[in-house]
Symmetry: C3
Subunit: 130 residues, 3 copies
Protein backbone atom coordinates (compact mmCIF):
# COMPACT_ATOMS: atom_id res chain seq x y z
CA UNK A 1 0.00 0.00 0.00
CA UNK A 2 1.28 3.46 -0.93
CA UNK A 3 0.16 6.27 1.39
CA UNK A 4 0.24 9.93 0.33
CA UNK A 5 -0.48 13.11 2.26
CA UNK A 6 -1.73 15.50 -0.39
CA UNK A 7 -1.03 19.18 0.21
CA UNK A 8 -3.83 21.10 -1.54
CA UNK A 9 -7.41 20.74 -2.71
CA UNK A 10 -5.91 19.78 -6.06
CA UNK A 11 -2.52 18.06 -6.16
CA UNK A 12 -0.74 15.79 -8.61
CA UNK A 13 1.90 13.34 -7.37
CA UNK A 14 4.25 11.24 -9.50
CA UNK A 15 4.19 7.85 -7.68
CA UNK A 16 6.21 5.88 -10.27
CA UNK A 17 9.19 5.38 -7.96
CA UNK A 18 6.97 4.07 -5.15
CA UNK A 19 5.30 1.60 -7.53
CA UNK A 20 8.71 0.51 -8.86
CA UNK A 21 9.85 -0.06 -5.25
CA UNK A 22 6.80 -2.25 -4.50
CA UNK A 23 7.58 -4.23 -7.64
CA UNK A 24 11.23 -4.62 -6.61
CA UNK A 25 10.16 -5.97 -3.21
CA UNK A 26 7.86 -8.55 -4.85
CA UNK A 27 10.71 -10.27 -6.78
CA UNK A 28 8.30 -10.76 -9.72
CA UNK A 29 10.21 -10.76 -13.03
CA UNK A 30 7.36 -10.90 -15.55
CA UNK A 31 3.64 -10.16 -15.18
CA UNK A 32 1.41 -7.19 -14.51
CA UNK A 33 1.16 -4.48 -11.85
CA UNK A 34 -2.22 -3.03 -10.83
CA UNK A 35 -2.14 0.40 -9.14
CA UNK A 36 -5.55 1.10 -7.59
CA UNK A 37 -6.74 4.16 -5.69
CA UNK A 38 -9.16 3.41 -2.86
CA UNK A 39 -10.96 6.77 -3.22
CA UNK A 40 -13.83 8.24 -5.24
CA UNK A 41 -12.43 11.77 -5.61
CA UNK A 42 -8.95 10.93 -6.91
CA UNK A 43 -7.66 9.67 -10.24
CA UNK A 44 -4.76 7.71 -11.63
CA UNK A 45 -3.40 8.08 -15.12
CA UNK A 46 -0.20 7.44 -17.06
CA UNK A 47 1.33 10.37 -18.91
CA UNK A 48 4.32 12.70 -18.96
CA UNK A 49 5.26 14.24 -15.58
CA UNK A 50 5.72 17.71 -17.00
CA UNK A 51 4.39 20.52 -14.80
CA UNK A 52 2.99 22.55 -17.70
CA UNK A 53 1.19 19.48 -19.06
CA UNK A 54 -0.16 18.66 -15.61
CA UNK A 55 -1.59 22.18 -15.41
CA UNK A 56 -3.19 21.65 -18.81
CA UNK A 57 -4.80 18.40 -17.61
CA UNK A 58 -6.12 20.10 -14.45
CA UNK A 59 -7.49 23.00 -16.52
CA UNK A 60 -9.19 20.55 -18.87
CA UNK A 61 -10.84 18.71 -15.96
CA UNK A 62 -11.95 22.04 -14.47
CA UNK A 63 -13.37 23.10 -17.85
CA UNK A 64 -15.31 19.84 -18.37
CA UNK A 65 -16.58 19.52 -14.79
CA UNK A 66 -16.08 22.85 -12.98
CA UNK A 67 -16.22 23.15 -9.20
CA UNK A 68 -19.62 24.45 -8.12
CA UNK A 69 -21.25 23.61 -11.44
CA UNK A 70 -24.77 23.32 -9.97
CA UNK A 71 -24.57 19.60 -9.27
CA UNK A 72 -27.19 17.58 -7.37
CA UNK A 73 -24.51 15.92 -5.24
CA UNK A 74 -23.19 19.32 -4.09
CA UNK A 75 -26.15 19.64 -1.74
CA UNK A 76 -24.30 16.99 0.25
CA UNK A 77 -20.51 17.18 0.36
CA UNK A 78 -19.87 19.98 -2.13
CA UNK A 79 -17.33 17.87 -3.98
CA UNK A 80 -19.34 16.61 -6.96
CA UNK A 81 -16.83 18.10 -9.41
CA UNK A 82 -14.11 15.94 -7.85
CA UNK A 83 -16.20 12.76 -8.30
CA UNK A 84 -16.92 13.72 -11.92
CA UNK A 85 -13.29 14.50 -12.71
CA UNK A 86 -12.26 11.22 -11.04
CA UNK A 87 -14.73 9.35 -13.25
CA UNK A 88 -13.12 10.83 -16.37
CA UNK A 89 -9.59 9.86 -15.26
CA UNK A 90 -10.36 6.43 -13.82
CA UNK A 91 -9.17 5.09 -10.45
CA UNK A 92 -6.55 2.57 -11.56
CA UNK A 93 -3.78 1.89 -14.04
CA UNK A 94 -2.22 -1.41 -15.01
CA UNK A 95 1.32 -1.83 -16.28
CA UNK A 96 3.20 -4.79 -17.77
CA UNK A 97 6.27 -6.10 -15.91
CA UNK A 98 9.34 -7.22 -17.88
CA UNK A 99 12.68 -8.34 -16.36
CA UNK A 100 11.56 -7.16 -12.91
CA UNK A 101 10.81 -3.59 -14.06
CA UNK A 102 7.70 -1.66 -15.10
CA UNK A 103 7.64 -1.90 -18.91
CA UNK A 104 6.70 1.75 -19.44
CA UNK A 105 7.61 4.05 -22.34
CA UNK A 106 10.31 6.71 -22.09
CA UNK A 107 7.98 9.54 -21.09
CA UNK A 108 5.41 7.55 -19.14
CA UNK A 109 4.94 8.12 -15.41
CA UNK A 110 2.21 7.03 -12.97
CA UNK A 111 0.39 10.21 -11.91
CA UNK A 112 -1.93 10.36 -8.89
CA UNK A 113 -4.53 13.14 -9.04
CA UNK A 114 -5.90 14.50 -5.76
CA UNK A 115 -9.13 16.30 -6.65
CA UNK A 116 -10.66 16.95 -3.20
CA UNK A 117 -7.78 17.41 -0.76
CA UNK A 118 -5.76 17.88 1.19
CA UNK A 119 -6.15 14.38 2.64
CA UNK A 120 -4.32 11.18 3.46
CA UNK A 121 -4.81 8.83 0.50
CA UNK A 122 -4.15 5.11 0.04
CA UNK A 123 -3.17 3.35 -3.16
CA UNK A 124 -3.16 -0.43 -3.42
CA UNK A 125 -0.42 -2.07 -5.50
CA UNK A 126 -1.09 -5.65 -6.61
CA UNK A 127 1.53 -7.58 -8.57
CA UNK A 128 0.82 -10.79 -10.50
CA UNK A 129 3.39 -13.02 -12.15
CA UNK A 130 2.59 -14.64 -15.48
CA UNK B 1 -21.11 -13.97 -16.31
CA UNK B 2 -23.45 -11.38 -14.83
CA UNK B 3 -26.64 -10.74 -16.81
CA UNK B 4 -28.69 -7.58 -16.38
CA UNK B 5 -32.02 -6.54 -17.86
CA UNK B 6 -31.81 -2.76 -18.00
CA UNK B 7 -35.07 -0.87 -17.66
CA UNK B 8 -34.65 2.41 -19.56
CA UNK B 9 -32.66 3.99 -22.37
CA UNK B 10 -30.31 5.18 -19.64
CA UNK B 11 -29.92 3.12 -16.47
CA UNK B 12 -27.24 2.77 -13.81
CA UNK B 13 -26.94 -0.49 -11.85
CA UNK B 14 -24.73 -1.13 -8.82
CA UNK B 15 -23.33 -4.62 -9.53
CA UNK B 16 -20.85 -4.76 -6.63
CA UNK B 17 -22.75 -7.52 -4.80
CA UNK B 18 -22.87 -9.69 -7.93
CA UNK B 19 -19.13 -9.25 -8.48
CA UNK B 20 -18.47 -10.06 -4.81
CA UNK B 21 -20.57 -13.22 -5.18
CA UNK B 22 -18.59 -14.34 -8.23
CA UNK B 23 -15.41 -13.77 -6.23
CA UNK B 24 -16.77 -15.75 -3.28
CA UNK B 25 -17.57 -18.69 -5.59
CA UNK B 26 -14.01 -18.66 -6.99
CA UNK B 27 -12.37 -19.31 -3.59
CA UNK B 28 -9.53 -16.96 -4.62
CA UNK B 29 -8.00 -15.25 -1.56
CA UNK B 30 -5.55 -12.83 -3.18
CA UNK B 31 -5.30 -11.52 -6.75
CA UNK B 32 -7.27 -9.33 -9.13
CA UNK B 33 -10.82 -9.25 -10.45
CA UNK B 34 -11.59 -8.01 -13.98
CA UNK B 35 -15.17 -6.88 -14.64
CA UNK B 36 -15.69 -6.51 -18.40
CA UNK B 37 -18.79 -5.39 -20.28
CA UNK B 38 -19.29 -7.15 -23.63
CA UNK B 39 -21.05 -4.14 -25.19
CA UNK B 40 -20.09 -0.95 -27.07
CA UNK B 41 -22.86 1.29 -25.69
CA UNK B 42 -22.40 0.63 -21.97
CA UNK B 43 -19.78 1.69 -19.44
CA UNK B 44 -18.29 0.48 -16.18
CA UNK B 45 -16.80 2.74 -13.56
CA UNK B 46 -16.03 2.73 -9.85
CA UNK B 47 -17.48 5.53 -7.76
CA UNK B 48 -20.00 6.29 -5.03
CA UNK B 49 -23.49 4.76 -5.53
CA UNK B 50 -25.30 7.96 -4.61
CA UNK B 51 -28.35 8.74 -6.74
CA UNK B 52 -27.66 12.47 -6.90
CA UNK B 53 -24.07 11.84 -7.97
CA UNK B 54 -25.21 9.32 -10.57
CA UNK B 55 -27.53 11.97 -12.02
CA UNK B 56 -24.60 14.37 -12.13
CA UNK B 57 -22.49 11.81 -14.03
CA UNK B 58 -25.32 11.18 -16.51
CA UNK B 59 -25.80 14.93 -17.00
CA UNK B 60 -22.07 15.36 -17.59
CA UNK B 61 -22.05 12.59 -20.23
CA UNK B 62 -25.11 14.12 -21.90
CA UNK B 63 -23.42 17.54 -21.87
CA UNK B 64 -20.16 16.25 -23.39
CA UNK B 65 -21.76 13.94 -25.99
CA UNK B 66 -25.47 14.82 -26.29
CA UNK B 67 -27.98 12.48 -27.92
CA UNK B 68 -28.67 13.59 -31.51
CA UNK B 69 -25.53 15.73 -31.66
CA UNK B 70 -25.24 15.55 -35.46
CA UNK B 71 -22.97 12.49 -35.50
CA UNK B 72 -21.92 10.58 -38.62
CA UNK B 73 -22.76 7.24 -36.99
CA UNK B 74 -26.34 8.40 -36.30
CA UNK B 75 -27.20 7.89 -39.95
CA UNK B 76 -26.99 4.21 -39.01
CA UNK B 77 -28.25 3.19 -35.59
CA UNK B 78 -28.95 6.60 -34.05
CA UNK B 79 -26.97 5.69 -30.93
CA UNK B 80 -23.64 7.42 -31.58
CA UNK B 81 -23.96 9.40 -28.33
CA UNK B 82 -24.08 6.10 -26.41
CA UNK B 83 -20.87 4.85 -28.10
CA UNK B 84 -19.15 8.18 -27.34
CA UNK B 85 -20.24 8.22 -23.70
CA UNK B 86 -19.15 4.58 -23.36
CA UNK B 87 -15.71 5.52 -24.73
CA UNK B 88 -15.33 8.18 -22.05
CA UNK B 89 -16.30 5.78 -19.22
CA UNK B 90 -14.44 2.69 -20.44
CA UNK B 91 -15.85 -0.83 -20.66
CA UNK B 92 -14.05 -2.52 -17.78
CA UNK B 93 -12.79 -2.08 -14.23
CA UNK B 94 -10.20 -4.09 -12.36
CA UNK B 95 -10.09 -4.50 -8.59
CA UNK B 96 -7.52 -6.02 -6.23
CA UNK B 97 -8.57 -9.02 -4.12
CA UNK B 98 -7.39 -9.31 -0.51
CA UNK B 99 -8.43 -12.03 1.98
CA UNK B 100 -11.12 -13.28 -0.41
CA UNK B 101 -12.82 -9.88 -0.73
CA UNK B 102 -12.73 -6.99 -3.20
CA UNK B 103 -10.20 -4.53 -1.74
CA UNK B 104 -12.31 -1.43 -2.46
CA UNK B 105 -12.47 1.82 -0.52
CA UNK B 106 -15.33 2.70 1.82
CA UNK B 107 -17.38 4.58 -0.78
CA UNK B 108 -16.40 2.64 -3.86
CA UNK B 109 -18.97 0.61 -5.79
CA UNK B 110 -18.92 -1.01 -9.24
CA UNK B 111 -21.40 0.92 -11.37
CA UNK B 112 -22.73 -0.37 -14.71
CA UNK B 113 -23.96 2.34 -17.09
CA UNK B 114 -26.60 1.41 -19.68
CA UNK B 115 -26.47 4.13 -22.32
CA UNK B 116 -28.65 2.65 -25.10
CA UNK B 117 -31.27 0.49 -23.42
CA UNK B 118 -33.40 -1.08 -22.36
CA UNK B 119 -31.62 -4.33 -23.24
CA UNK B 120 -30.28 -7.58 -21.82
CA UNK B 121 -26.59 -7.01 -21.06
CA UNK B 122 -23.74 -9.39 -20.21
CA UNK B 123 -20.74 -8.67 -18.02
CA UNK B 124 -17.80 -11.04 -17.84
CA UNK B 125 -16.07 -11.50 -14.46
CA UNK B 126 -12.57 -12.98 -14.59
CA UNK B 127 -10.66 -13.68 -11.37
CA UNK B 128 -6.91 -14.35 -11.20
CA UNK B 129 -4.98 -15.47 -8.14
CA UNK B 130 -1.50 -14.06 -7.55
CA UNK C 1 5.13 -6.37 -28.96
CA UNK C 2 2.95 -4.96 -31.74
CA UNK C 3 4.60 -2.29 -33.90
CA UNK C 4 2.58 0.14 -36.01
CA UNK C 5 3.66 2.79 -38.50
CA UNK C 6 0.89 5.37 -38.31
CA UNK C 7 0.18 7.34 -41.48
CA UNK C 8 -1.16 10.72 -40.39
CA UNK C 9 -1.14 13.15 -37.49
CA UNK C 10 -4.37 11.43 -36.41
CA UNK C 11 -4.90 7.78 -37.28
CA UNK C 12 -7.02 4.97 -35.86
CA UNK C 13 -5.92 1.35 -36.32
CA UNK C 14 -7.94 -1.77 -35.48
CA UNK C 15 -5.31 -4.03 -33.86
CA UNK C 16 -7.69 -6.81 -32.74
CA UNK C 17 -6.27 -9.38 -35.14
CA UNK C 18 -2.70 -8.69 -34.00
CA UNK C 19 -3.72 -9.07 -30.34
CA UNK C 20 -5.57 -12.29 -31.17
CA UNK C 21 -2.43 -13.57 -32.91
CA UNK C 22 -0.27 -12.83 -29.85
CA UNK C 23 -2.82 -14.69 -27.73
CA UNK C 24 -2.78 -17.66 -30.11
CA UNK C 25 1.03 -17.86 -29.90
CA UNK C 26 0.87 -17.87 -26.08
CA UNK C 27 -1.21 -21.09 -25.90
CA UNK C 28 -3.09 -19.60 -22.91
CA UNK C 29 -6.64 -20.95 -22.76
CA UNK C 30 -8.13 -18.93 -19.91
CA UNK C 31 -6.97 -15.67 -18.27
CA UNK C 32 -6.57 -12.02 -19.20
CA UNK C 33 -4.83 -10.06 -21.93
CA UNK C 34 -3.36 -6.61 -21.26
CA UNK C 35 -2.80 -4.38 -24.30
CA UNK C 36 -0.61 -1.42 -23.30
CA UNK C 37 0.60 1.50 -25.42
CA UNK C 38 4.10 2.72 -24.52
CA UNK C 39 3.32 6.32 -25.57
CA UNK C 40 1.86 9.48 -23.99
CA UNK C 41 0.13 10.83 -27.12
CA UNK C 42 -1.80 7.72 -28.17
CA UNK C 43 -4.86 5.98 -26.78
CA UNK C 44 -6.39 2.52 -26.68
CA UNK C 45 -10.09 1.84 -26.39
CA UNK C 46 -12.58 -0.91 -27.15
CA UNK C 47 -15.52 -0.04 -29.36
CA UNK C 48 -17.05 -0.67 -32.78
CA UNK C 49 -14.63 -0.39 -35.74
CA UNK C 50 -17.06 1.67 -37.84
CA UNK C 51 -15.46 4.51 -39.80
CA UNK C 52 -18.31 6.96 -39.17
CA UNK C 53 -18.19 6.23 -35.43
CA UNK C 54 -14.40 6.61 -35.40
CA UNK C 55 -14.81 10.03 -37.00
CA UNK C 56 -17.35 10.92 -34.31
CA UNK C 57 -14.88 9.89 -31.57
CA UNK C 58 -12.08 11.95 -33.18
CA UNK C 59 -14.43 14.96 -33.48
CA UNK C 60 -15.42 14.58 -29.83
CA UNK C 61 -11.76 14.51 -28.73
CA UNK C 62 -11.02 17.55 -30.90
CA UNK C 63 -14.04 19.36 -29.41
CA UNK C 64 -13.05 18.60 -25.80
CA UNK C 65 -9.31 19.27 -26.19
CA UNK C 66 -8.73 21.12 -29.49
CA UNK C 67 -5.30 21.36 -31.11
CA UNK C 68 -3.72 24.72 -30.33
CA UNK C 69 -6.08 25.43 -27.45
CA UNK C 70 -3.71 27.80 -25.66
CA UNK C 71 -2.05 25.11 -23.52
CA UNK C 72 1.00 25.65 -21.30
CA UNK C 73 2.69 22.51 -22.67
CA UNK C 74 2.41 23.84 -26.25
CA UNK C 75 5.30 26.20 -25.56
CA UNK C 76 7.37 23.03 -25.69
CA UNK C 77 6.35 20.34 -28.18
CA UNK C 78 3.09 21.82 -29.50
CA UNK C 79 1.27 18.54 -28.90
CA UNK C 80 -0.54 19.22 -25.62
CA UNK C 81 -3.90 18.42 -27.21
CA UNK C 82 -2.62 14.92 -28.03
CA UNK C 83 -1.56 14.32 -24.41
CA UNK C 84 -4.96 15.56 -23.18
CA UNK C 85 -6.92 13.43 -25.62
CA UNK C 86 -4.75 10.42 -24.69
CA UNK C 87 -5.57 11.02 -21.01
CA UNK C 88 -9.29 10.87 -21.78
CA UNK C 89 -8.98 7.60 -23.74
CA UNK C 90 -6.48 5.82 -21.49
CA UNK C 91 -3.34 4.00 -22.66
CA UNK C 92 -4.38 0.37 -22.11
CA UNK C 93 -7.24 -2.09 -22.37
CA UNK C 94 -7.64 -5.45 -20.70
CA UNK C 95 -9.68 -8.32 -22.09
CA UNK C 96 -10.74 -11.68 -20.63
CA UNK C 97 -9.51 -14.85 -22.37
CA UNK C 98 -11.84 -17.84 -22.70
CA UNK C 99 -11.07 -21.09 -24.60
CA UNK C 100 -7.95 -19.53 -26.09
CA UNK C 101 -9.80 -16.54 -27.60
CA UNK C 102 -10.42 -12.93 -26.59
CA UNK C 103 -13.83 -12.97 -24.87
CA UNK C 104 -15.09 -9.80 -26.58
CA UNK C 105 -18.65 -8.87 -27.55
CA UNK C 106 -19.91 -9.08 -31.14
CA UNK C 107 -19.15 -5.46 -32.02
CA UNK C 108 -16.09 -4.94 -29.86
CA UNK C 109 -12.68 -4.27 -31.44
CA UNK C 110 -9.39 -3.04 -29.98
CA UNK C 111 -8.79 0.43 -31.45
CA UNK C 112 -5.42 2.19 -31.32
CA UNK C 113 -5.60 5.99 -31.56
CA UNK C 114 -2.60 7.86 -32.94
CA UNK C 115 -3.02 11.47 -31.82
CA UNK C 116 0.38 12.98 -32.68
CA UNK C 117 1.68 11.12 -35.73
CA UNK C 118 2.79 9.94 -38.05
CA UNK C 119 5.23 7.83 -36.03
CA UNK C 120 6.37 4.30 -35.31
CA UNK C 121 4.45 3.12 -32.24
CA UNK C 122 4.89 0.13 -29.92
CA UNK C 123 2.16 -1.73 -28.04
CA UNK C 124 2.99 -4.27 -25.37
CA UNK C 125 0.76 -7.37 -25.11
CA UNK C 126 0.95 -9.26 -21.83
CA UNK C 127 -1.04 -12.48 -21.35
CA UNK C 128 -1.70 -14.10 -17.96
CA UNK C 129 -3.30 -17.48 -17.39
CA UNK C 130 -5.68 -17.92 -14.45
Amino acid sequence: MITIETRNCVDVVDITDQVERALHDSFVESGICLVYSLHTTTGLTINEADSSLINDILNLLQRIAPRGGGYHHDQGDGNAHAHLQATLLGNSVIIPIERGRLAMGTWQRVLFFELDGPRRRSIFVRILAD
